[in-house]
């Protein structure tokens, strides 16, 4: 047992940190619902960071570390699907990679745009298509802090992939857990900074126990979410992946409202960038059936499917 970062992982995260410096701070001149920057996507791709999972020496834990680190940024960037699912596809294409759950295709899809490769999780198989402009509706007014679009439906013609449903579901859950862990860490840091500065009743509001205990509980849960995500990434075991996603989604649910609450009135405006993390969490939390969906897949994996 040796859960600390190995030398390669340390080196990659150091290089990533150095590269990400221009994107550490939220945009201040405008107050967008979501922040994205094509320059960030380009820099990541050019540096080869999105190919770590395909490298047998680095593998899926390094991929999860990368996803977690990127999610701490205020900028939304498509990484989870590219890093974890991308290496399993033979025709990945050049655009963003989107994951769609066939049972829930009406949900807004992250990063869906013309030319995106859309991988569809079905009950018995996995299929894919490349999105054309007439297949979806962009949602510029969505509250989610990702660029999102909604499919008009699942196109009839989809290419069946060699990937099986369980494999895709597990990688989706691992990526989701790692991304939630990073988003939660970013949101927590942002909230901690605010409550430490903001004075009311003549003292920082962080000195009130009503806030301290809830933030401390958030720290405990977010730390757990990080470790469960990394553990699940290590062997992509279905039970571990479902537990990690379940725990992450539940943590996101319990923390997000608290964090906005602690910002007071700023928690309902766009003055503070907190929503750039929490309104990504709100979309992630419901993927694959949300907390209950992950819990059911965890129960099936740990204890066998429910008898009919």
């Amino acid at each position: 047992m040796n859960p600390s970062l190995n030398q390669d992982q340390r080196a990659i995260l150091d290089a990533l940190d150095a590269m990400l410096r221009p994107w550490e701070n939220a945009p201040v001149h405008d107050a967008p619902l979501f922040a994205s920057d094509p320059a960030l996507e380009k820099a990541l791709a050019e540096a080869g960071f999105l190919e770590v999972a395909g490298d047998p020496d680095l593998g899926t834990v390094t991929a999860a570390l990368l996803i977690e680190r990127l999610a701490r940024l205020p900028f939304a960037v498509e990484a989870a699907a590219s890093v974890l699912v991308g290496p399993l596809l033979d025709d990945r294409g050049a655009g963003p990679l989107c994951l769609v759950d066939a049972r829930r295709w009406r949900r807004p899809v992250r990063f869906l745009c013309e030319g995106a490769r859309v991988v569809v999780l079905e009950d018995k198989r996995v299929s894919a298509f490349t999105a054309s402009a007439d297949q979806f509706r962009a949602e510029p007014n969505a509250l989610f802090a990702y660029p999102v679009a909604t499919l008009h439906g699942l196109p009839e013609v989809r290419k069946p992939l060699a990937l099986n449903s369980t494999e895709l579901r597990v990688r989706w859950q691992v990526g989701l857990a790692a991304e939630c862990a990073g988003l939660l860490a970013g949101a927590l840091a942002s909230t901690v900074a605010h409550v430490s500065d903001r004075q009311q009743f003549g003292r920082p509001i962080a000195t009130f126990q009503a806030i301290r205990h809830r933030l401390a509980e958030a720290q405990v849960r977010i730390n757990g979410a990080y470790w469960l995500a990394m553990r699940a990434a290590a062997d992509c075991d279905p039970g571990q992946a479902a537990l990690a996603a379940l725990y992450a989604a539940e943590t996101a649910r319990t923390c997000s409202y608290d964090f906005h609450q602690f910002l007071g009135a700023m928690g309902m405006t766009l003055e503070h960038p907190l929503h750039l993390w929490t309104y990504r969490l709100k979309l992630l939390t419901g993927e694959l059936g949300g907390v209950a969906g992950h819990a059911r897949s965890a129960a099936d994996a740990l204890w066998g499917p429910a008898p009919d």
Binding site: P3, S4, A216, R221, G224
Partner: protein, 381 residues
Amino acid sequence: MDFEWTEEESAFRERIRDFLGQNLPDDWERFAEHGPGSPVLTEFARQFCGRLADHNLLTPHWPVEIGGLGLDPWHQTILAEEMWAAGEPRGGQYMNVNWIGPTLMKYGSEEHKARYLPGITSGQDLWCQGFSEPGAGSDLASLRTRAEAVGDVYRINGQKVWTSYAGLAKTCFLLCRTGEDRKRGISILLVPMDTPGITVREIPSIIGRGDIHEVFFDDVVVSLSARLGEEGQAWEIIAYSLANERLGIPRYALARAALERAVAILGERGNFADPAVRIAAATVASLCEAARWTNYALIDRRAKGETVGAEASSARFATIKAERRVSEFIAEHLPEALADAHPFLKMHHQRGIVAGIAAGAAEVQLNIVASDVLQLPREPR
């Protein structure tokens, strides 16, 4: 990051399982209802720990020169997980090997080490910790039991309460006031429990018979050499001890074992098809695993020689949550366990009820996390 046990670590775990298979009585689960501090279990633990010691499995994580094998904190964790998952057959002696022994090694005089360590490494001695008082629970530094230096002795007067194992303990690890300063006025005395002037009364508890007590000190006299460390050093010493204690009890292992047992029982009788029950069980399992891995992250740092401070409180809080939710799951879905139908689950409930209370309340852990992990500005005093 490597999340797999090495072959050697797995073999060590198997060795402990074999040992438990051979040395726990057939009716252990029913037997364990006596409670960890009961006379029956204390006597059983003495024999059991003696056999553990014979097999080098009582203090394998201690240094070789003090009766150990010098194994790393991972082995200590594996050992503790297996013991807790079985319901902790070491009884109160788990404290000895976790923190009393290591604290004596670090702060004890040569006389203390010679006098007390052999009784721990041979599995014969039981200790109690004289910490809480009627007016000093979470606010431990307000304790009032006083030790007055008179010539070459201390005279102790005062009262301790909610003291585990005091009825049968040989020695008390006693916190008492030797000066006026709130924290720097507190010292530690190692007090033989058969010293005249000590009176012990049992307090009936949910944990089981013989576990919780009040202890009175009326003009109890011990030599100055009974003091551990310097006068006024107690706060520093117990910070060290409690960091060991917080990481040393893998309650998540017992909680997960109890959950598995509950799921198996529900499955056998056809009550585990209900999606609501399955969702609840998986949610509870995720809390157990989160606790496990947050603890492992710190054990890893300890194994690499780092000091683990406030993060131990974060890991402990994760464990408390897991323990609580497993207990709630069982009370909700298998209430007959608390009425004796499933002794292992009843034992889990009784052992688990202390998780958020003993060794520093859950809320105190959150205070520590807020101030020292999140670095929030402190509350005004």
